[in-house]
């Protein structure tokens, strides 16, 4: 059975959004600190039970301590997540109702998905009971959320309503916050404290966002032209598949050859820059 001190420290750690390893380290550090304090109090003449109680009293309320540690480790992360969740839920309800009453279009599938994602985004910062805050989980959720918000943008763009401009701005602020949180989650919050890895992740996320944007642009364009989904449209997903493959490959080889990983991380960005130059300044290619 766990001692009162162990239970107390567990409660503190629960209030943080650390990785499993970080939580274990934090748990160990706090427990040692409290055990030393308890031992000192026993030496001063207290019983074991009294010393444990006093040590916890001196340390403070576990909820407050946990929140303070969370804030110092991940400044404003909880607030940002809560803002995004509440903003997205309100946006979804507003767009759904306007679209329903202006266009007679009930986007039930999008509503259900978007509300579910919003609820999960709300649950994550409030959750102190399960360990769910892995980088992969968070980023997957944020990326799916960005896609749902992009679909929301398509709905709003097709609306003939005075609120359209405001809704579009609101939607893009949500998307910007989501992308910001993806960068933060990958580079700052859950990465080894090493500049090289931060740069590598940053390169990959940037190219990933641009490639996803281009892919979606073509997919939506084809959907509008054809009016229905066709398996051949999946060919437009191939740049995204190549990007994912390259990203995974870089993470595999980064310990053996940092140079190679960095060069591979640069490849998609160089291709994107060349493509943009070719599209907007074609004369450069034929000089």
């Amino acid at each position: 059975m766990k001692s009162k001190l162990e239970q107390y420290v567990e409660n503190i750690v629960r209030h943080t959004e650390c990785s499993k390893q970080e939580k274990e380290d934090l748990y160990e550090e706090l427990l040692i600190h409290l055990e030393l304090s308890r031992d000192q109090l026993i030496e001063d003449g207290m019983t074991l039970e009294e010393a444990e109680k006093k040590a916890m009293q001196l340390f403070g309320n576990e909820g407050e301590i946990g929140s303070q540690i969370q804030q110092s480790l991940f400044p404003y992360r909880k607030e940002l997540m809560l803002t995004l969740a509440v903003s997205s839920i309100l946006f979804t309800i507003t767009v759904y109702l306007i679209n329903l009453f202006v266009d007679g279009d009930a986007q039930i599938g999008w509503l259900t998905m978007s509300m579910a994602i919003g609820a999960m985004l709300l649950f994550l910062p409030l959750n102190q009971f399960f360990h769910l805050n892995k980088k992969l989980w968070l980023n997957s959720l944020l990326i799916i959320h960005a896609l749902a918000e992009l679909y929301g943008w398509l709905i709003v763009s097709g609306l003939d309503h005075p609120a359209t401009v405001g809704m579009v701005i609101w939607d893009w602020l949500n998307i910007a916050l989501t992308i910001g949180l993806v960068y933060r989650t990958t580079i700052y919050d859950y990465s080894p404290n090493e500049n090289f890895m931060k740069i590598l992740h940053g390169l990959n996320i940037t190219s990933g966002i641009i490639i996803s944007g281009i892919t979606l642009f073509f997919l939506v364009g084809m959907l509008i032209m054809i009016g229905e989904f066709h398996p051949r449209m999946l060919i437009f997903m191939s740049p995204l598949a190549v990007w994912i493959g390259l990203y995974i490959f870089q993470l595999k080889i980064v310990n053996k050859s940092r140079k190679m990983a960095f060069l591979l991380g640069l490849v998609p960005l160089i291709i994107i820059v060349l493509l943009f130059l070719w599209i907007y300044y074609p004369q450069l290619a034929y000089r």
Binding site: Y96, L97, F101, G104, A106, L111, Q128, G158, D160, M225
Partner: protein, 345 residues
């Protein structure tokens, strides 16, 4: 936050979502019910009566309004699964032909041609066909109806949506109720059927694909205006400028048939949204002048029986969502543009 409070919060979101879904089912409209407002389907009689089609929650309504009056009178209404196409007056303006066809072409193809007697306001069904009848026009003597018939509704290419295809010109004799196929084009698409004053020729707009030999060349095809002598349809020829760089779309002929008014793009090389304007082309002098400079979407020209006025539709929401059509008129030279207010009652 306590576990209990989180559960309450999640349940609250679930209840809101469920309530929104129920509201969605109650107020959702089918695609057929969504159409509203004036369409671009209209005609003008020699007596200046305008026959136009407007939609009310998906239901097509045919209205008649004299140009000098302030209110239109509803002559026909159909259910929300139907659309009314191409109201066309007879030469004397006494009878109006129009087409009704089903909106959902995936399940079946059916079109009916109707005649509305403007003296008795009586509507009769002329014939029904299991196809898409896109346009109808009277023979100058009123003895028969010419029409554009699309036999299929499919996508010819996997990267294109389903549309009516396999077009040809047909004739229906009103007296003996017989029909005759006049052309053997099986054309990808045809628009704007116009019958000559003698009834010996028809004019129509379609792809000029006569010189296409490779798939690549099919992307360069321009849409032009053709005339077809009905006694020898194989002698079909282009009568708009055969070298025009930009396609021409909806068109009409002037009563003298020496000039045509057509729609084309005024800014093909600018990039951005295309601007559609009306142009006048003289068949004899081969000279073209641009009639409108509105900078939006102008199309569907109709020339008055005296040849002095051009009517046209302007879509004020082109490329911005559902169309919002307004009817305008101007002189045959493109002057004195003014809107005709259509008020439905």
């Amino acid at each position: 936050m306590k576990k209990k409070n989180i559960i309450i919060l999640m349940l609250f979101l679930l209840i809101i979502t469920a309530a929104l879904i129920i509201i969605g089912f109650v107020f959702n409209k089918t695609e057929n019910e969504k159409q509203n407002g004036l369409s671009n389907q209209y005609d003008v009689s020699p007596q200046h009566t305008i026959a136009y089609v407007s939609y009310q929650e998906g239901k097509p309504q045919l209205f008649l309004q004299n140009e000098n009056e302030t209110t239109g009178i509803m002559a026909a209404e159909f259910d929300e699964n139907t659309m009314i196409l191409d109201p066309s007056f007879s030469k004397d303006g006494a009878i109006l032909a129009f087409i009704t066809t089903n909106k959902d072409k995936e399940t079946k193809l059916t079109s009916t041609v109707h005649l509305l007697d403007l003296h008795t306001n009586e509507i009769t069904e002329v014939f029904t066909d299991s196809s898409t009848i896109a346009e109808v026009a009277f023979h100058p003597q009123g003895s028969s109806l010419y029409y554009l018939r699309a036999g299929t509704f499919e996508n010819y290419s996997p990267i294109a949506g389903k549309r009516p295809h396999d077009f040809d010109v047909y004739e229906f004799h009103l007296q003996d109720q017989t029909l005759k196929r006049l052309t053997n084009l099986s054309q990808y698409s045809i628009h704007s059927l116009y019958v000559s004053s003698t009834g010996e020729r028809v004019f129509l707009q379609r792809d000029d694909d006569s010189s296409v030999e490779t798939p690549e060349e099919s992307f360069q095809v321009k849409e032009r205006i053709f005339q077809i002598p009905l006694d020898r349809p194989e002698k079909m020829s282009v009568i708009s400028d055969p070298k025009r760089e930009v396609s021409v779309f909806s068109f009409t002929m002037t009563p003298s048939e020496k000039e045509m008014i057509y729609q084309s793009i005024s800014n093909p090389d600018e990039g951005g949204t295309y601007k559609y304007e009306l142009y006048k082309y003289n068949v004899e002098t081969k000279k073209e002048i641009q009639l409108t400079h509105i900078g939006e979407y102008v199309g569907d020209p109709v020339v008055s029986a005296d040849g002095k006025t051009v009517y046209f539709m302007l879509d004020k929401k082109f490329a911005k969502g559902a169309p919002e059509y307004h009817l305008y008129k101007m002189t045959i030279d493109g002057d004195n543009i003014e809107e005709i207010n259509l008020f439905s009652s």
